[in-house]
Amino acid sequence: MPFLLVWNLFWMGATAAILALIYHLDSRDAAAGARQSAGGKQ
């Protein structure tokens, strides 16, 4: 298989994995922020 095709497929997988990780961290931070502000209101 041409190297450039394999290279592209590798980076597509890597991009999806990195973005999924960032999404997970962002969601966790947003949930923590929401909990904190809800606690502050009480």
Binding site: M1, P2, L9, W11, T15, A16, Y23
Partner: protein, 492 residues
């Protein structure tokens, strides 16, 4: 009657029924009609954005370019990846602004960010022109697919007329809900077909993917190597950058962002898109499989590689299914383009340009009237003939990509770009594009002694660079002058 023809007709009837039925139970204001009332969850947002990304350009162009040009076609796979990384941060920002201000059309965003009706009209004109080109690509692709897969029993022009009428019918009635409902079936079907064809055809004809590449390497080694001239590495990288920057500037893709219920739906969509795009790699395999098995395709005909290979390999009923899938592949982005063009004409050209006092109801009426008229104009251009898919797509992408400096500046917390700079930048980029497209200007003619790596750069990127320089220069001068005037007034 030919089984392929019956199946294609059934697909068309099915699309019309699903599209019309999508309206059931909904009262359609302009916001509901054009952007689904901003209530689409992750799945529907994904299907709409994937529908926009996977059009007839991908269906025919990816395999056709691989068949005729080989490795340079891989740029189609690469640019999405780069665009999704930008999209992860860009799309939620666009969505938030659109929700806060109640934006509906593509040009609304720029008019709102630059607080200028004139900018809205300018962007609308660029967008509508580009959408003419984009719909031409979809309709021409659709004509080719239906005519080819019905074994010539339906003429291209007949297929284009029928499909255009079909889209007009369900889009006028259901708006974006029609597109979204068809996208569900289209994406599932195309995913299954691309994976099946990309794995089955190399095994069927060569015994495996490795064996197929070994055979191509022996007969056509040039297809597996990046050429030194023309579509070389420099062209590849510059085209990749250009198309990635312009990826979200297709009006129908941009407004698909507005439909999302929340920013999280958009982020999830961006995470999934690189995986979805892998199916393009399967279409490359189909293109490579056609290299040694489909003979005699030259020039624009190379776009037929996938269809001819399917026809010579499978029975008529399966040919009909591929033809039907191709039909849906054109209908989803095609109808989204029509919807966006009509919304832009009504909101930004009619109201912003001529009738600022027009009510929302009047604008919605104009949008519904514009939809068939816009389609009629495009059908006229399609029937007159022209260039191939990829050349058209690159040109319209270049035209829309001229909005990148304006978009980038809109994300800054402290406003920098001015509306005058926006006009100046687009004019500069437009001049370079016009000289390149109609004047035959290339970097090689301007710099005859420059190295090949420089002269092979895509002219669209050169136009964008000129645009960005003018945009920044005019904005900087205006800000400087304004600061001086303010200081002078204060000291007086």
């Amino acid at each position: 009657m030919n089984p392929a023809l019956i199946i294609i007709i059934l697909f068309a009837i099915f699309a019309l029924a699903v599209g019309l039925n999508a309206r059931r139970g909904k009262k359609l204001s302009l916001e509901q009609w054009a952007i689904g009332g901003r209530g689409f969850g992750s799945l529907l947002t994904f299907l709409l954005m994937a529908g926009e990304a996977f059009s007839t350009f991908t269906f025919l162009g990816a395999s056709g370019w691989t068949y005729s040009k080989g490795v340079p076609a891989f740029y189609i796979l690469s640019y999405g990846c780069l665009a999704y990384v930008l999209g992860y941060w860009m799309l939620p920002a666009i969505w938030r602004h659109a929700k806060e201000r109640g934006l509906v059309s593509f040009a609304d965003y720029f008019a709102s960010r630059y607080e200028s009706r004139a900018v809205g009209v300018l962007v609308s004109v660029v967008a509508v022109l580009a959408m003419v080109a984009l719909l031409i690509i979809q309709l021409r692709g659709l004509g080719i697919i239906v005519s080819e897969m019905s074994y010539g029993l339906i003429a291209q022009n007949t297929a284009i007329w029928i499909s255009a009428l079909l889209m007009v019918a369900y889009m006028t009635v259901s708006g974006i809900h029609g597109s979204a409902s068809i996208a569900i079936f289209k994406d599932a079907l195309i995913l299954g077909l691309a994976i099946f064809l990309g794995t089955y055809l190399p095994v069927h004809y060569f015994g495996g993917v490795g064996e197929m590449f070994a055979r191509i390497d022996a007969v056509h080694p040039e297809l597996l190597r990046m050429p030194e001239h023309g579509l070389n590495l420099s062209w590849y990288n510059s085209t990749l950058l250009l198309t990635a920057l312009g990826y979200y500037l297709y009006p129908h893709g941009f407004t698909a962002v507005y439909v999302a219920r929340d920013a999280s739906a958009l982020r999830k969509n961006v995470v999934l898109m690189p995986i979805y795009q892998v199916l393009i790699a399967f279409l490359f395999l189909v293109g490579f499989a056609a290299v040694l098995t489909v003979h005699g395709l030259e020039g624009a005909q190379t776009d037929l590689a996938l269809l001819r290979l399917v026809k010579q390999t499978f029975p008529s009923w399966f040919v009909g299914i591929v033809g039907g899938a191709g039909l849906l592949t054109a209908l989803v982005p095609g109808s989204l383009i029509m919807l966006n063009a009509s919304t832009t004409i009504a909101r930004n050209i009619y109201r912003e340009g001529f009738a600022p006092q027009a009510s929302d109801k009047a604008v919605a009426r104009i949008a519904r009237i514009s939809l068939p008229l816009f389609t009629l104009v495009v059908v006229f251009f399609v029937l007159r003939g022209g260039t191939t898919f990829v050349a058209l797509a690159i040109f319209s992408s270049s035209l829309l990509t001229q909005l990148v400096p304006m978009l980038a500046s809109s994300f800054l917390k402290r406003p920098f770009g001015t509306r005058e700079a926006a006009f100046g930048g687009i004019a500069a980029g437009g001049v370079v594009l016009a000289l390149s497209n109609w004047g035959g200007m290339t970097l090689a003619t301007v710099f005859p002694n420059a190295p090949l790596a420089l002269t092979s750069i895509n002219m669209g990127l050169v136009a964008l660079f000129s645009n960005a320089v003018v945009f920044v220069a005019i904005s900087a001068v205006q800000r400087l002058l304004r600061a001086r005037i303010d200081t002078a007034v204060e000291s007086a």
